[in-house]
């Protein structure tokens, strides 16, 4: 049975306009998720930890949430002597182990159809020819239409080689509407000069617009919530300046040691590993002015402005601190010191704890120090941004009443227990005396919203496939960050061995002294 709706008024659409808009999309139609267009991802270093635990599961989860197109391909490139079948099993095992959404055979079966494996080393030009053929075959069989993203889950020293090979076999350039994108992971160099060299190599092969530098911290819900907290509310903005803010502490503490990353970590150290990227980005988001919009270019403009306004302390000895963990007990486990770790030079001067003071030369932040610290084998695993406020200018209480009152603070907990804490004074109950003490008010992300928020990599990979990169640091941001860190590293290199601190504590004594000099003390998060 057939019936036709009666539409006398229906007119067929005219010729396509210059700027085509999809008639099925409407800004008011917020239900429609954005699904990536036809494309494929090629992962270099597919057998590595990151790929196994994060990338492959994230790709599956995206497929399971219906955010990947039917025309999707996934190619693994690795040295192992695997058949396509063995590689599929490898992917399946890791997806099953680490995926966050339910494992459905249907989703898997469809995803598996687009999975390919290319065996080879980065030196092997023939392997890249095979890769090129595999990718064209995906275009033909899976309809990926020449859109391909290359995920460099490999050590940075291999970037130049892989980039050159991609250029050589013609994969780096695309035709017509099709795109090629490359995703690189930190570290983006180990100082300004090396970062620039790395950029030059990649810029030779890919356009700046097609290079995506992943900082998975920026994909976390809490970091995005920081923007919501600051720019969607009225109650924080009026106090978000040097009239009210005393200082800011940004902490990323790890309880683990150097572990399997010894080879990479020694000679790099905590500051290059964490401060240069994660902490400076968090600082930029905390301190930047309101962006015109949340489009990538507007966000980047504000972050860049802030990073350009950062000033280093004159006396680096007084306002930076570094340490190296010594043996001790991490909670209830006995652990070795950094110098005894496997694969570490026993004379290493690499720091595993770094703290620095930075100032921001703007009207908003003049005179407000920002303290950034990070370290391994600290008290517990925590990342937070604490905005500490000035004391009330006058306290109409007996001095004894407020002796236990600290400074008010707003703490954005990035992980774990994602959320926001406010610390303020409250009266201790009792009729005989007036006594004010610190209390906490908590907003817990997990209990107010979804229990299963998407993993940071899901968001970031989808952003790359959609070509919408608001959360990715640009070359300029990376350069500015190195400009901030390089003088500190240079100064530290003249100092010899960092001060040891007992594993499981909150870092070396000089870090406490560094804050005490300014009349502050570190939070114990």
């Amino acid at each position: 049975m057939t019936s036709t709706l009666n539409y006398e008024d229906a007119t067929s659409s005219s010729e396509p306009l210059q700027t085509w808009t999809n008639p099925l999309r409407d800004a008011r139609d917020l239900r429609l998720p954005r699904i990536a267009g036809p494309c494929s991802i090629v992962i270099f270093g597919v057998t590595g930890d990151l790929s196994r635990k994060k990338l492959l599961p994230a790709i599956y989860d995206l497929a399971n949430r219906g955010l990947l197109p039917p025309e999707f391909g996934l190619t693994g490139f690795a040295r192992r002597d695997w058949s396509e079948e063995q590689f599929r099993n490898f992917v399946k095992t890791n997806v099953q182990e680490h995926c966050r959404t339910q494992f459905r055979e249907d989703t898997w079966a469809q995803l598996a159809e687009g999975i390919r494996f290319v065996r080879g080393t980065f030196e092997d030009a023939e392997a890249f020819e095979r890769l090129s053929n595999t990718v064209s075959e995906l275009d033909r069989d899976r309809g990926t239409r020449g859109n391909h993203a290359f995920y460099m889950s490999v050590p940075p020293r291999d970037f130049p080689l892989v980039a050159k090979q991609l250029a050589h076999c013609g994969l780096a350039k695309s035709e017509g509407d099709a795109w090629r994108r490359v995703i690189i992971e930190k570290p983006f160099g180990h100082d300004l000069a090396s970062a620039k060299r790395l950029d030059d190599v990649i810029a030779e092969v890919f356009d700046e617009d097609s290079v995506f530098r992943i900082d998975h911290y920026l994909g976390k819900e809490t970091v995005q919530n920081l923007l919501a907290l600051r720019f969607a509310n009225t109650m924080y903005e009026p106090i978000w300046n040097n009239n009210y803010v005393d200082h800011v502490q940004i902490t990323m503490a790890e309880d683990i040691g150097v572990g399997g990353r010894a080879g990479y970590y020694d000679g790099i150290g905590a500051a290059r590993d964490v401060i240069q990227n994660h902490l400076l980005q968090l600082m930029a988001l905390t301190a930047m002015e309101e962006p015109l919009s949340f489009k990538a270019c507007d966000l980047t403009a504000e972050k860049t402005k802030l990073l350009s306004a950062i000033r280093l302390p004159k006396d680096l000895r007084a306002h930076t601190a570094r340490g190296q963990y010594a043996a001790g007990w991490q909670g209830s486990r006995e652990v070795v010191g950094y110098l005894e770790e496997q694969g570490i030079d026993p004379d290493s001067t690499t720091e595993t704890y770094a703290a620095i003071r930075l100032d921001v030369d703007t009207r908003r932040w003049a005179g407000v120090p920002f303290y950034l610290r990070t370290g391994k084998r600290l008290g517990r695993r925590v990342t937070e941004i604490a905005v500490v406020f000035k004391r009330a200018p006058h306290l109409p209480f007996e001095s004894t009443a407020t002796q236990e009152l600290g400074k008010n603070a707003l703490v954005i907990r990035v992980q774990p227990y994602e959320g926001v804490t406010m610390r303020f004074g409250a009266k201790v109950p009792g009729v005989t005396s007036m006594e004010v003490r610190d209390v906490s008010m908590d907003f817990n992300y997990g209990s107010s919203f979804t229990e299963s928020s998407p993993e940071a990599y899901e968001r970031l990979i989808l952003d790359v496939l959609l070509g919408d990169p608001p959360l990715f640091p640009t070359t300029r941001e990376v350069d500015l960050s190195w400009r901030i860190l390089d003088p500190i590293e240079e100064f530290w290199s003249t100092l010899g061995t960092p001060e040891p601190y007992r594993a499981g504590t909150w870092g070396p004594a000089q870090a406490d002294e560094m804050l005490a000099r300014d009349g502050h003390r570190w939070r114990k998060p």
């Binding site: 709706l5 229906a10 099925l24 239900r31 249907d106």
Partner: protein, 310 residues
């Protein structure tokens, strides 16, 4: 944990909830909304299962109202108009569940019955999982709700219900028939995102006879594309089975046949057909989507108001 409270009062219920929160060390402040469900004893357990699942994503307090069917016994001297249950922990989702079984005159005052039990200063969502009132915004609970969800295809006479909903449309109303289409609509939109961007000249949709989601999909496509849309019914279909969009270079289609197999096929002129898993949407997913957006759905309004239903 289910606590049964026969012949009770609302203040006893809220005291009980406070007491349980205190005992369990939980705070009611984390609840982001109150979901009030108008249902009956037959559907109650199934509906609560869906609500509990959805509450894991949107922690809410669930208040389910099922008019009492318990005959009053003569020896009850302390009889009130209300029986209730409070469910916590394993018997609730991420929030708490309150089941209210009013009787007598109380069934005509459902708004003041629930007001003392709402999460303070949080949005209210009203949901009619089976029979919908002819005018949800005039319903006592509906009138105070920020969002009103009906499900016409679950009612006795779906077509008549939809006509009523169309006549009495209000911005905060939405019907689950529309929610069931989101995945289809998203896939169709991304199909058109891809070049070449040629104009669509006609559309055909296929599915069961008088199937409300199919009618809505056809109307949406007609409104957006401004082209004739043909509806073809298939006797054995259980859900929307296909959308075929004709343009100069051929037909773009999205098919899922049979619907319960959950595999969709996308065909684009000049390309190999591709398959992708699209399981039929569960009620819990639909409810979760509705709880995730509380703003008025204008697109739905435009589609519903313009549907030729007579």
């Amino acid at each position: 944990m289910i606590i049964t409270m026969q012949n009770t009062e609302t203040n006893e219920i809220s005291d009980k909830i406070d007491e349980l929160h205190e005992q369990r060390g939980e705070a009611a402040l984390g609840r982001v909304l109150t979901l009030i469900i108008m249902t009956n004893e037959q559907h109650l357990e199934q509906v609560l299962l869906w609500a509990n699942e959805a509450s894991r994503e949107h922690p809410c307090r669930v208040i389910a109202i099922a008019p009492s069917e318990r005959p009053a016994s003569a020896d009850e001297t302390t009889r009130t108009y209300l029986d209730a249950e409070v469910r916590f922990g394993a018997d609730a989702g991420a929030g708490e569940v309150i089941v209210l079984r009013p009787r007598g005159g109380l069934t005509h005052h459902l708004d003041t019955l629930t007001i003392p039990l709402l999460v303070p200063d949080a949005p209210i969502v009203a949901w009619w999982p089976d029979e919908a009132p002819s005018d949800p915004s005039a319903h006592l609970v509906g009138a105070m709700a920020n969002s009103r969800i009906t499900d016409a295809i679950m009612s006795e006479n779906p077509m008549q219900t939809l006509r009523d909903l169309q006549r009495n449309w209000a911005p905060q109303n939405v019907d689950m028939s529309w929610t069931r289409l989101t995945v289809w609509r998203a896939m169709l939109a991304s199909l058109l995102d891809q070049p070449p961007h040629l104009p669509i000249t006609s559309v055909k949709v296929t599915g069961p006879k008088d199937f409300l989601p199919l009618l809505m999909l056809a109307q949406w496509l007609h409104l957006r594309l401004q082209v004739p849309v043909t509806i073809e019914t298939e006797d054995d279909a259980t859900a929307v089975t296909g959308v075929y969009m004709t343009r100069a270079d051929g037909v773009l289609s999205l098919e899922r046949r049979p619907a319960d197999k959950g595999i969709a096929t996308v065909s684009v002129p000049g390309q190999q057909a591709q398959h992708t898993p699209v399981p039929t949407r569960s009620m819990q997913e639909c409810l979760s989507e509705e709880l995730g957006r509380l703003y008025p759905d204008e697109i739905y309004g435009e589609v519903l108001k313009s549907m030729p239903l007579d």
